[in-house]
């Protein structure tokens, strides 16, 4: 995904959100007053409502009540462009404008008898002759069967009737694009996860994107999915749940990217706090949303700061992004900062994921190079000059002095070459093959060095596998760095032990004059080869030690299960 384009999208949508909310209003709303009862005259513009209350207490469900709101139209509408009235009010109601019935939303007073009707968000046209600049009165005849304590006009907007719809349309279009982008990202990373089930970060990111998509879609689908007011709490609960998921998953994701001590207990505590906030003030949805959002921000900020403090890759940029969302929160409203902030945070998460994938790719490429290098090193063993040229020189001598022995020497050499050829492209070979390689090598070295080499083994399990030529390398080192005992022998012993926790190969050299200095000096290429091979096949689950003993040398390879 093109990060720049994505960034731009979020910028544009947040700008639109800002501009759509900042047009200068054409009206001024005064305090709404209420009265229980039902009189047609209460709709009229000049009814004296001075004894009406600012709020209604103790009302029976379904009982009819009236509300009156004085509204000052600040600007007479342009000709042929009537004003419209946008309402978000709980209940079923009739709408009177200056005493004239301009619309009906459901059946006030008959809710119990009739099925639910009407929508939570409604728009009514205001007659042109009643929309001149000046004082007007909006009167609602309402009944509230489901939430009798929610007598309140939640939203009231007056604007050009067309603009009320077209503004929503534009806002909705952008927010749907915003949501769609996250849906695509979510699916993409879900597929990535399905192709690599170990990559939990991709899954978390995918779920986060999906939740943001779902949240956005749920919020901005209200314009075209009509909903009765009785269902609104369910909608809010759904929204809160989405937000709960997001609020937990984002810091959880950061925890995976920037590990810190006591991660598990801290995450559990955080999850506990979130659930508490979610449940305790369950009906106060705005409070819940703000609390969860802030909680998410604070916890994430802590984690990312710790990451930045430890110089984790990408932590600084993520920290900057988080600070930017804070700025947006202070400069704009919660709703705008929620979407803009979530967009930015998800973007930084995507960035971290890209960094992670990059380092994974590099590690993979490195491992390929490493494997090739090890393979070459194995191949080189038999053509490196010290082995090859010394062998050939000895061979020349044998051929000149004792041709029959020379032929046996050539046969041993051919066998070692053949064995190397067989194991050349393998990462693990049967232990028997490795031992054969060692024995053949000893045969060759006997012709060269005229030392009697003795091979002993103990507890070998023929079913075991081992990386190629690692014992061979130890054997080479043993031959190179030691001198024969008084009876002109050097003895090698391989001991295999295994239990539930580990397998171990102990390789002992019994010789005189083991050269401790060079043995101990900086790690030779042989030892590096052994370690690289062990890492290739066993990751970090191995240990290799090599040290002098009283009668020679001891190497130990431990492979943990």
């Amino acid at each position: 995904m093109n990060l720049k384009a994505f960034n731009l999208l979020i910028l544009v949508s947040s700008l639109l959100l800002v501009t759509s909310c900042s047009q200068s209003p054409v009206f001024k709303e005064h305090e709404t007053v209420y009265k229980i009862g039902d009189q047609e005259a209460w709709a009229s513009k000049n009814w004296n409502d001075q004894n009406w209350k600012g709020r209604i207490t103790q009302m029976q469900a379904g009982q009819v009540f009236w509300s009156r709101t004085q509204i000052d139209i600040l600007k007479t509408p342009e000709p042929l462009r009537p004003y419209g009235l946008r309402l978000e009010v709980y209940g079923e109601y009739e709408v009177f404008w200056d005493g004239v019935l301009i619309g009906k939303n459901g059946n006030p007073g008959q809710e119990a008898e009739l099925p639910p009707e009407g929508k939570l968000w409604t728009t009514f046209g205001i007659p042109t002759h009643l929309s001149d600049a000046g004082k007007h009165v909006l009167a609602l005849r309402t009944s509230l069967l489901y939430f009798p304590d929610h007598t309140k006009i939640h939203e009231l907007d007056i604007d050009y009737y067309d603009d009320l719809f077209s503004d929503d349309l534009v806002e909705n279009a952008y927010m749907h694009i915003y949501a769609g982008a996250f849906l695509i990202v979510s699916l993409y990373f879900l597929f990535l996860f399905l192709s690599n089930r170990q990559a939990y970060s991709t899954l978390i990111f995918s779920i986060c994107c999906f939740l943001v998509f779902a949240l956005t879609l749920t919020v901005f689908s209200k314009e075209y999915i009509p909903m009765h007011y009785s269902l609104h709490v369910i909608r809010l609960q759904v929204l809160s749940s989405f937000l709960l998921g997001i609020s937990f998953l984002i810091p959880f994701y950061f925890s995976k990217q920037f590990p810190y001590p006591k991660r598990k207990p801290l995450l559990i505590v955080y999850a506990g706090i979130l659930i508490m906030v979610f449940l305790v003030k369950h009906q106060a949805f705005d409070f819940t949303a703000v609390s969860m959002g802030l909680g998410m921000w604070i916890f994430s900020f802590g984690i990312v700061s710790f990451g930045a403090y430890n110089n984790a890759r990408g932590a600084r940029l993520t920290l900057l992004t988080l600070l930017l969302t804070l700025v947006i929160y202070f400069v704009t409203s919660f709703v705008i900062s929620l979407y803009a902030g979530l967009g930015l945070i998800l973007l930084s998460m995507l960035y971290l994921l890209t960094l992670q994938r990059k380092s994974e790719r590099l590690a993979y490429e490195n491992s390929l190079v490493q494997s090739t290098r090890l393979r070459l090193e194995l191949l080189k063993k038999n053509i490196q000059p010290h082995f090859l040229m010394n062998t050939l020189t000895s061979l020349m001598d044998w051929v000149e002095e004792s041709p029959k022995k020379g032929v046996l020497f050539i046969e041993a050499l051919a066998k070692e070459f053949d064995l190397f050829n067989q194991i050349e492209d393998r990462t693990l070979i049967p232990i028997a093959q490795e031992i054969e390689l060692c024995r053949t090598h000893l045969e060759i070295m006997e012709y060269r060095k005229e030392v009697s080499y003795i091979w002993e083994q103990e507890g070998i399990d023929p079913n075991e596998n081992i990386p190629p030529a690692i014992l061979h390398t130890l054997l080479e080192n043993g031959i190179t760095h030691s001198l024969p005992l008084e009876d002109n022998t050097i003895r090698f012993k391989l001991v295999f032990e295994s239990n539930d926790d580990f397998k171990s190969y102990t390789f002992l050299t019994f010789a005189a004059g083991v050269n401790k200095a060079t043995h101990n000096n900086e790690e030779g290429t042989g030892i590096k080869y052994i370690k690289a091979r062990l890492t290739e096949s066993y990751g970090s689950k191995w240990n290799f030690t090599s040290k002098a003993t009283d009668d020679g040398w001891k190497n130990e390879i431990m492979i943990y299960s």
């Binding site: 090859l388 050939l392 020189t393 020349m396 060269r448 050269n515």
Partner: protein, 232 residues
């Protein structure tokens, strides 16, 4: 001739020994074989050797330190090694020859003959002269060398910075190792000809070479014609 073979491969050591005996016959006074670096260093330090046949890779150890001390001694060193890429470095240090493994008797003979015939080394790649200085070996770049003066069994190296160093090798041996720009203008002098400013003829058929630094060195009567033909 006292010869030392330093080689950790028993079969190869025997081969060298056998061939050396074949080639040099009864000119050999002693011929010994040593298979460890430490033993070799001790033997070299004792002196009285005329030739060392040296393998550079003994028991997995790098033999270049050993090579440095070998070339600082009075005897000639011939390297016998499996690593052909070490040949250039070996020659730079001033070995008489580099015999790559595997080798046959002809190749070894070619190398050993040089010790007898005083033939110059083929590539003339010698870049340093190793000098023993307070238990340490110092490598003196050839380009710092103005002339060398024979002083009995050893030689004195006169350097561009005006200093003087002692070398254990004889003038003959050094002449063998150094490039032809070093001319034996006198039985006791080996001079870098690029440092010679002019040749002065004095009365009584005395010839002198004036060097760039003003020093004057005698030219052997018998050498004069040869030098004049070659350099003037």
């Amino acid at each position: 001739m006292n010869i030392l073979i330093v080689e950790d491969e028993s079969r190869i050591a025997k081969r060298i020994e056998r061939m050396t005996r074949d080639i040099l016959g009864n000119t050999i006074q002693s011929l010994r074989h040593i298979n460890t670096l430490q033993g070799a260093m001790e033997s070299i330090g004792k002196g009285s050797l005329d030739l060392v046949l040296l393998d550079l890779n003994l028991n997995g150890e790098n033999g270049f330190d050993m090579l440095k001390s070998a070339v600082s001694e009075s005897f000639h060193t011939i390297v016998i090694s499996a690593y052909r890429d070490q040949a250039i470095t070996a020659f730079e240090y001033g070995v008489l020859d580099f015999v790559p493994k595997p080798f046959n008797q002809d190749r070894l003979e070619q190398a050993l003959k040089r010790t007898i015939t005083n033939e110059k080394t083929e590539p003339n790649e010698t870049k340093f002269l190793a000098v023993k200085k307070r238990q340490k070996i110092q490598l003196i770049p050839i380009e710092d060398l103005i002339y060398i003066k024979g002083a009995g069994a050893y030689t004195e190296l006169f350097l561009t910075d005006g200093s003087k160093e002692l070398h254990d090798k004889s003038l003959e041996k050094l002449e063998q190792l150094l490039s032809p720009i070093f001319e034996r203008i006198h039985k006791s002098y080996l001079v870098n000809m690029s440092e010679v400013k002019e040749i002065i003829v004095k009365s009584g058929s005395k010839y002198m070479a004036e060097l760039n630094n003003g020093e004057i060195i005698p030219i052997g009567r018998t050498k004069y014609k040869e030098i004049k033909a070659k350099w003037v």
